[in-house]
Protein backbone atom coordinates (compact mmCIF):
# COMPACT_ATOMS: atom_id res chain seq x y z
CA UNK A 1 0.00 0.00 0.00
CA UNK A 2 1.36 3.41 -0.95
CA UNK A 3 0.55 6.99 -0.11
CA UNK A 4 -2.06 9.27 -1.61
CA UNK A 5 -0.27 11.11 -4.38
CA UNK A 6 -2.08 14.38 -3.74
CA UNK A 7 0.25 16.32 -6.03
CA UNK A 8 -0.84 14.33 -9.08
CA UNK A 9 -4.52 14.46 -8.07
CA UNK A 10 -4.19 18.23 -7.84
CA UNK A 11 -2.45 18.47 -11.23
CA UNK A 12 -4.99 16.15 -12.88
CA UNK A 13 -8.07 17.94 -11.63
CA UNK A 14 -6.47 21.40 -11.78
CA UNK A 15 -5.37 21.28 -15.40
CA UNK A 16 -8.66 19.74 -16.53
CA UNK A 17 -10.78 22.38 -14.77
CA UNK A 18 -8.48 25.14 -16.08
CA UNK A 19 -8.84 23.78 -19.61
CA UNK A 20 -12.64 23.51 -19.32
CA UNK A 21 -12.93 27.08 -18.02
CA UNK A 22 -10.60 28.31 -20.78
CA UNK A 23 -12.61 26.51 -23.46
CA UNK A 24 -15.86 27.82 -22.00
CA UNK A 25 -14.60 31.40 -21.91
CA UNK A 26 -13.30 31.18 -25.48
CA UNK A 27 -16.54 29.65 -26.80
CA UNK A 28 -18.54 32.32 -24.96
CA UNK A 29 -16.41 35.02 -26.58
CA UNK A 30 -15.03 36.22 -23.23
CA UNK A 31 -11.44 35.22 -23.99
CA UNK A 32 -9.46 35.40 -27.22
CA UNK A 33 -8.65 32.01 -28.72
CA UNK A 34 -5.09 33.25 -29.18
CA UNK A 35 -4.84 33.56 -25.37
CA UNK A 36 -6.76 30.32 -24.89
CA UNK A 37 -4.47 28.31 -27.17
CA UNK A 38 -1.25 28.48 -25.04
CA UNK A 39 -3.24 27.95 -21.83
CA UNK A 40 -4.93 24.90 -23.35
CA UNK A 41 -1.60 23.58 -24.61
CA UNK A 42 -0.03 23.74 -21.13
CA UNK A 43 -3.11 22.02 -19.66
CA UNK A 44 -2.96 19.27 -22.28
CA UNK A 45 0.76 18.72 -21.58
CA UNK A 46 -0.11 17.97 -17.95
CA UNK A 47 -3.13 15.81 -18.82
CA UNK A 48 -1.53 12.40 -19.30
CA UNK A 49 0.70 11.89 -16.26
CA UNK A 50 -2.08 11.95 -13.62
CA UNK A 51 -3.96 9.31 -15.64
CA UNK A 52 -0.74 7.31 -15.94
CA UNK A 53 -0.35 7.34 -12.16
CA UNK A 54 -3.98 6.26 -11.85
CA UNK A 55 -3.36 3.40 -14.30
CA UNK A 56 -0.84 2.02 -11.80
CA UNK A 57 -3.07 2.71 -8.78
CA UNK A 58 -0.57 5.34 -7.61
CA UNK A 59 -3.12 8.10 -6.97
CA UNK A 60 -4.94 6.18 -4.24
CA UNK A 61 -1.84 4.26 -3.22
CA UNK A 62 -4.03 1.16 -3.77
CA UNK A 63 -5.76 1.87 -0.43
CA UNK A 64 -8.86 -0.21 0.10
CA UNK A 65 -12.01 1.84 -0.37
CA UNK A 66 -10.17 4.65 -2.15
CA UNK A 67 -9.23 2.95 -5.42
CA UNK A 68 -12.11 4.67 -7.24
CA UNK A 69 -9.91 7.79 -7.19
CA UNK A 70 -7.57 6.25 -9.79
CA UNK A 71 -10.02 5.92 -12.72
CA UNK A 72 -12.07 8.93 -11.60
CA UNK A 73 -9.20 11.44 -11.53
CA UNK A 74 -7.50 9.64 -14.42
CA UNK A 75 -10.50 10.06 -16.71
CA UNK A 76 -11.19 13.66 -15.74
CA UNK A 77 -7.55 14.46 -16.41
CA UNK A 78 -7.74 12.93 -19.90
CA UNK A 79 -10.77 14.90 -21.11
CA UNK A 80 -8.64 17.57 -22.86
CA UNK A 81 -6.80 14.77 -24.73
CA UNK A 82 -10.09 13.03 -25.67
CA UNK A 83 -8.70 9.73 -24.42
CA UNK A 84 -10.20 6.91 -22.41
CA UNK A 85 -8.42 6.15 -19.13
CA UNK A 86 -9.55 2.52 -19.40
CA UNK A 87 -8.12 2.05 -22.92
CA UNK A 88 -4.84 3.71 -21.98
CA UNK A 89 -4.63 1.59 -18.83
CA UNK A 90 -4.93 -1.78 -20.55
CA UNK A 91 -2.59 -0.79 -23.38
CA UNK A 92 -0.05 0.71 -20.97
CA UNK A 93 0.06 -2.52 -18.95
CA UNK A 94 1.07 -4.31 -22.17
CA UNK A 95 3.79 -1.69 -22.71
CA UNK A 96 5.18 -2.57 -19.27
CA UNK A 97 4.88 -6.30 -19.83
CA UNK A 98 6.60 -6.23 -23.24
CA UNK A 99 8.71 -3.06 -23.33
CA UNK A 100 10.68 -2.76 -26.60
CA UNK A 101 9.29 -6.03 -27.98
CA UNK A 102 8.31 -5.02 -31.54
CA UNK A 103 5.59 -7.68 -31.68
CA UNK A 104 3.87 -6.99 -28.36
CA UNK A 105 4.86 -3.52 -27.08
CA UNK A 106 1.94 -1.25 -28.01
CA UNK A 107 4.24 1.82 -27.92
CA UNK A 108 7.02 0.37 -30.03
CA UNK A 109 5.90 2.12 -33.20
CA UNK A 110 7.40 5.33 -31.77
CA UNK A 111 10.88 3.77 -31.70
CA UNK A 112 11.24 3.24 -35.45
CA UNK A 113 13.05 6.47 -36.21
CA UNK A 114 13.89 9.81 -34.69
CA UNK A 115 11.84 12.11 -32.50
CA UNK A 116 9.83 13.33 -35.47
CA UNK A 117 8.57 9.81 -36.11
CA UNK A 118 7.60 9.56 -32.43
CA UNK A 119 5.73 12.87 -32.67
CA UNK A 120 3.74 11.64 -35.67
CA UNK A 121 3.30 7.98 -34.76
CA UNK A 122 1.36 8.77 -31.58
CA UNK A 123 -1.48 9.97 -33.84
CA UNK A 124 -1.49 6.68 -35.74
CA UNK A 125 -2.01 4.66 -32.57
CA UNK A 126 -0.65 1.19 -31.83
CA UNK A 127 -0.18 -1.09 -34.83
CA UNK A 128 -3.18 -3.32 -35.51
CA UNK A 129 -1.08 -6.49 -35.53
CA UNK A 130 0.37 -5.64 -32.09
CA UNK A 131 -3.13 -5.12 -30.69
CA UNK A 132 -4.31 -8.36 -32.30
CA UNK A 133 -1.34 -10.30 -30.90
CA UNK A 134 -2.05 -9.00 -27.38
CA UNK A 135 -5.76 -9.75 -27.73
CA UNK A 136 -4.99 -13.28 -28.85
CA UNK A 137 -2.68 -13.91 -25.89
CA UNK A 138 -4.91 -12.19 -23.34
CA UNK A 139 -8.70 -12.07 -23.89
CA UNK A 140 -9.02 -9.62 -20.97
CA UNK A 141 -6.98 -7.12 -22.99
CA UNK A 142 -9.62 -6.97 -25.75
CA UNK A 143 -12.38 -6.77 -23.12
CA UNK A 144 -10.59 -3.89 -21.43
CA UNK A 145 -10.20 -1.96 -24.69
CA UNK A 146 -13.87 -2.56 -25.58
CA UNK A 147 -14.91 -1.34 -22.13
CA UNK A 148 -13.13 1.97 -22.64
CA UNK A 149 -14.31 2.64 -26.18
CA UNK A 150 -17.66 4.31 -25.30
CA UNK A 151 -15.80 7.07 -23.41
CA UNK A 152 -13.44 7.58 -26.35
CA UNK A 153 -16.38 7.80 -28.75
CA UNK A 154 -18.26 10.17 -26.45
CA UNK A 155 -15.32 12.60 -26.30
CA UNK A 156 -14.79 12.32 -30.05
CA UNK A 157 -18.50 13.02 -30.60
CA UNK A 158 -18.36 16.09 -28.35
CA UNK A 159 -15.45 17.43 -30.40
CA UNK A 160 -17.44 17.02 -33.61
CA UNK A 161 -20.48 18.78 -32.14
CA UNK A 162 -18.32 21.64 -30.86
CA UNK A 163 -16.51 22.09 -34.17
CA UNK A 164 -19.77 22.50 -36.10
CA UNK A 165 -20.80 25.47 -33.96
CA UNK A 166 -17.36 26.91 -33.09
CA UNK A 167 -14.93 25.63 -35.74
CA UNK A 168 -11.81 27.74 -35.23
CA UNK A 169 -12.19 28.05 -31.46
CA UNK A 170 -12.58 24.28 -31.12
CA UNK A 171 -9.60 23.75 -33.39
CA UNK A 172 -7.28 26.14 -31.51
CA UNK A 173 -8.39 25.43 -27.92
CA UNK A 174 -9.11 21.71 -28.12
CA UNK A 175 -7.87 19.78 -31.16
CA UNK A 176 -4.52 21.49 -31.85
CA UNK A 177 -3.28 21.76 -28.22
CA UNK A 178 -4.31 18.16 -27.66
CA UNK A 179 -2.50 16.94 -30.79
CA UNK A 180 0.69 18.89 -30.00
CA UNK A 181 0.67 17.77 -26.37
CA UNK A 182 0.30 14.11 -27.36
CA UNK A 183 3.34 14.45 -29.63
CA UNK A 184 5.32 16.05 -26.76
CA UNK A 185 4.23 13.26 -24.42
CA UNK A 186 5.13 10.45 -26.81
CA UNK A 187 8.58 11.93 -27.49
CA UNK A 188 9.54 12.42 -23.85
CA UNK A 189 7.49 9.72 -22.12
CA UNK A 190 7.91 6.97 -24.72
CA UNK A 191 10.68 7.51 -27.24
CA UNK A 192 13.38 9.26 -25.20
CA UNK A 193 13.48 6.91 -22.15
CA UNK A 194 13.44 3.72 -24.26
CA UNK A 195 15.90 4.67 -27.00
CA UNK A 196 17.20 3.01 -29.09
CA UNK A 197 14.29 0.62 -28.51
CA UNK A 198 16.04 -2.66 -29.28
CA UNK A 199 16.92 -3.81 -25.77
CA UNK A 200 14.52 -5.89 -23.70
CA UNK A 201 14.54 -6.92 -20.06
CA UNK A 202 13.80 -5.16 -16.80
CA UNK A 203 17.28 -3.66 -16.47
CA UNK A 204 17.91 -2.95 -20.16
CA UNK A 205 14.73 -1.56 -21.75
CA UNK A 206 14.81 1.90 -20.14
CA UNK A 207 17.67 4.35 -19.78
CA UNK A 208 18.73 7.38 -17.79
CA UNK A 209 18.77 10.38 -20.10
CA UNK A 210 19.41 14.09 -19.90
CA UNK A 211 19.15 17.16 -22.10
CA UNK A 212 20.45 20.70 -21.99
CA UNK A 213 17.05 21.81 -20.61
CA UNK A 214 15.86 21.29 -17.03
CA UNK A 215 14.03 18.04 -16.32
CA UNK A 216 10.93 19.92 -15.14
CA UNK A 217 10.13 20.73 -18.79
CA UNK A 218 9.84 16.99 -19.42
CA UNK A 219 7.90 16.20 -16.24
CA UNK A 220 10.98 14.42 -14.88
CA UNK A 221 10.86 11.55 -17.35
CA UNK A 222 14.59 11.22 -16.73
CA UNK A 223 13.58 9.05 -13.75
CA UNK A 224 11.58 6.69 -15.97
CA UNK A 225 13.95 3.80 -15.18
CA UNK A 226 12.65 3.83 -11.61
CA UNK A 227 9.10 3.62 -12.95
CA UNK A 228 9.86 0.61 -15.13
CA UNK A 229 11.62 -1.19 -12.29
CA UNK A 230 9.04 -0.29 -9.64
CA UNK A 231 5.80 0.98 -11.25
CA UNK A 232 4.08 1.41 -7.88
CA UNK A 233 6.51 4.09 -6.69
CA UNK A 234 4.64 7.42 -7.08
CA UNK A 235 6.07 9.60 -9.81
CA UNK A 236 6.57 12.43 -7.33
CA UNK A 237 8.88 10.20 -5.24
CA UNK A 238 10.98 8.84 -8.10
CA UNK A 239 13.92 11.27 -7.60
CA UNK A 240 14.19 10.16 -3.96
CA UNK A 241 14.01 6.50 -5.04
CA UNK A 242 16.63 7.11 -7.70
CA UNK A 243 19.05 8.49 -5.11
CA UNK A 244 18.49 5.50 -2.84
CA UNK A 245 18.70 2.92 -5.62
CA UNK A 246 21.61 4.53 -7.49
CA UNK A 247 24.24 1.96 -6.37
CA UNK A 248 21.92 -0.89 -7.36
CA UNK A 249 21.15 0.73 -10.73
CA UNK A 250 24.87 1.20 -11.47
CA UNK A 251 25.62 -2.36 -10.35
CA UNK A 252 22.95 -3.71 -12.69
CA UNK A 253 24.43 -1.78 -15.61
CA UNK A 254 21.22 -0.02 -16.54
CA UNK A 255 21.83 2.16 -19.64
CA UNK A 256 23.12 5.60 -18.64
CA UNK A 257 23.34 4.63 -14.94
CA UNK A 258 26.92 5.82 -14.56
CA UNK A 259 25.78 9.38 -15.29
CA UNK A 260 23.15 9.52 -12.53
CA UNK A 261 24.24 12.14 -9.98
CA UNK A 262 24.20 11.39 -6.24
CA UNK A 263 21.61 14.11 -5.70
CA UNK A 264 18.54 13.95 -7.94
CA UNK A 265 16.00 15.83 -5.82
CA UNK A 266 15.85 19.52 -6.76
CA UNK A 267 18.46 18.78 -9.42
CA UNK A 268 17.41 19.93 -12.93
CA UNK A 269 19.70 17.23 -14.41
CA UNK A 270 21.02 19.50 -17.15
CA UNK A 271 23.64 17.70 -19.26
CA UNK A 272 24.30 16.77 -22.86
CA UNK A 273 22.65 13.48 -23.77
CA UNK A 274 24.89 10.56 -24.67
CA UNK A 275 22.31 8.27 -26.18
CA UNK A 276 23.02 6.43 -29.42
CA UNK A 277 21.37 8.28 -32.27
CA UNK A 278 18.25 6.62 -33.59
Amino acid sequence: MGRFQWQMILIGLGQSVTWMVTLGLVLAGRLSMWVGFPIAFVCCCFAYLPSHEGQHGNLSGRRKGWQWIDPFVGQISLIPLRQSHQVLKVTHMKHHAHTNDPELDVDHHCMEGGFLNAAISVHRGPRAEVLAANAERDPKFAEGVAKGMPMQRLLGGLLLVAVVFFPLKTFFVWWLPSALAQSYQFIYFGWQPHRPGDQVGRYRDTRFWTTLAPRYLFQSMQTHIIHHMYPTIPHWDEPKAMEALRPFIVERGIPGAERIPKRVRFNPLIARDEAPRA
Binding site: I120, H123, R124, R153, G156, L160, V163, V164, L168, F171
Partner: protein, 81 residues
Protein backbone atom coordinates in the same frame (compact mmCIF):
# COMPACT_ATOMS: atom_id res chain seq x y z
CA UNK B 1 -27.69 -31.86 -27.48
CA UNK B 2 -27.65 -28.73 -25.30
CA UNK B 3 -31.07 -27.45 -24.33
CA UNK B 4 -31.45 -23.72 -24.28
CA UNK B 5 -34.16 -22.01 -22.29
CA UNK B 6 -35.58 -19.31 -24.59
CA UNK B 7 -36.34 -17.14 -21.57
CA UNK B 8 -32.61 -16.89 -20.85
CA UNK B 9 -31.61 -15.95 -24.39
CA UNK B 10 -30.32 -12.38 -24.64
CA UNK B 11 -33.04 -10.22 -26.16
CA UNK B 12 -31.92 -7.32 -28.30
CA UNK B 13 -34.33 -4.45 -28.71
CA UNK B 14 -34.56 -2.30 -31.83
CA UNK B 15 -32.67 0.47 -30.01
CA UNK B 16 -29.82 -1.88 -29.11
CA UNK B 17 -29.60 -3.11 -32.68
CA UNK B 18 -29.59 0.47 -33.96
CA UNK B 19 -26.80 1.43 -31.54
CA UNK B 20 -24.78 -1.61 -32.61
CA UNK B 21 -25.20 -0.66 -36.26
CA UNK B 22 -24.19 2.95 -35.60
CA UNK B 23 -21.10 1.86 -33.67
CA UNK B 24 -20.12 -0.56 -36.42
CA UNK B 25 -20.56 2.26 -38.93
CA UNK B 26 -18.37 4.58 -36.83
CA UNK B 27 -15.67 1.91 -36.61
CA UNK B 28 -15.71 1.56 -40.40
CA UNK B 29 -16.31 5.10 -41.55
CA UNK B 30 -15.23 7.21 -38.53
CA UNK B 31 -12.23 8.72 -40.32
CA UNK B 32 -14.38 9.75 -43.28
CA UNK B 33 -16.98 11.44 -41.06
CA UNK B 34 -14.21 13.09 -39.08
CA UNK B 35 -12.67 14.49 -42.25
CA UNK B 36 -16.03 15.64 -43.59
CA UNK B 37 -17.35 17.25 -40.38
CA UNK B 38 -14.21 18.32 -38.51
CA UNK B 39 -11.84 19.34 -41.30
CA UNK B 40 -14.70 20.56 -43.48
CA UNK B 41 -15.87 22.91 -40.71
CA UNK B 42 -12.38 24.13 -39.83
CA UNK B 43 -11.38 24.73 -43.46
CA UNK B 44 -14.67 26.52 -44.15
CA UNK B 45 -14.23 28.83 -41.13
CA UNK B 46 -10.63 29.57 -42.07
CA UNK B 47 -11.57 30.21 -45.71
CA UNK B 48 -14.32 32.63 -44.65
CA UNK B 49 -11.73 34.63 -42.72
CA UNK B 50 -9.24 34.65 -45.59
CA UNK B 51 -11.79 35.31 -48.37
CA UNK B 52 -14.75 37.04 -46.67
CA UNK B 53 -16.24 38.15 -50.02
CA UNK B 54 -16.20 34.72 -51.66
CA UNK B 55 -19.63 33.11 -52.25
CA UNK B 56 -20.52 31.08 -49.15
CA UNK B 57 -22.11 28.02 -50.85
CA UNK B 58 -19.06 27.50 -53.05
CA UNK B 59 -16.60 27.90 -50.17
CA UNK B 60 -18.68 25.55 -48.00
CA UNK B 61 -18.92 22.91 -50.71
CA UNK B 62 -15.20 23.17 -51.44
CA UNK B 63 -14.29 22.93 -47.75
CA UNK B 64 -16.49 19.91 -47.15
CA UNK B 65 -15.12 18.21 -50.25
CA UNK B 66 -11.53 18.75 -49.10
CA UNK B 67 -12.43 17.36 -45.67
CA UNK B 68 -14.21 14.39 -47.22
CA UNK B 69 -11.28 13.71 -49.54
CA UNK B 70 -8.86 13.82 -46.60
CA UNK B 71 -11.11 11.46 -44.64
CA UNK B 72 -11.32 8.98 -47.49
CA UNK B 73 -7.54 9.08 -47.91
CA UNK B 74 -7.07 8.55 -44.15
CA UNK B 75 -9.45 5.59 -44.23
CA UNK B 76 -7.58 4.03 -47.13
CA UNK B 77 -4.16 4.55 -45.48
CA UNK B 78 -5.38 3.61 -42.00
CA UNK B 79 -4.08 6.82 -40.42
CA UNK B 80 -4.09 10.58 -40.95
CA UNK B 81 -0.45 11.65 -40.88
Amino acid sequence: MVEVNPVELPRTSAVQRAITLVLAHIDRWGAVWFGFVFWGSVIFAAARRIWPDAPTPGVLAGSLLIGLGGGLAARRRGYWL
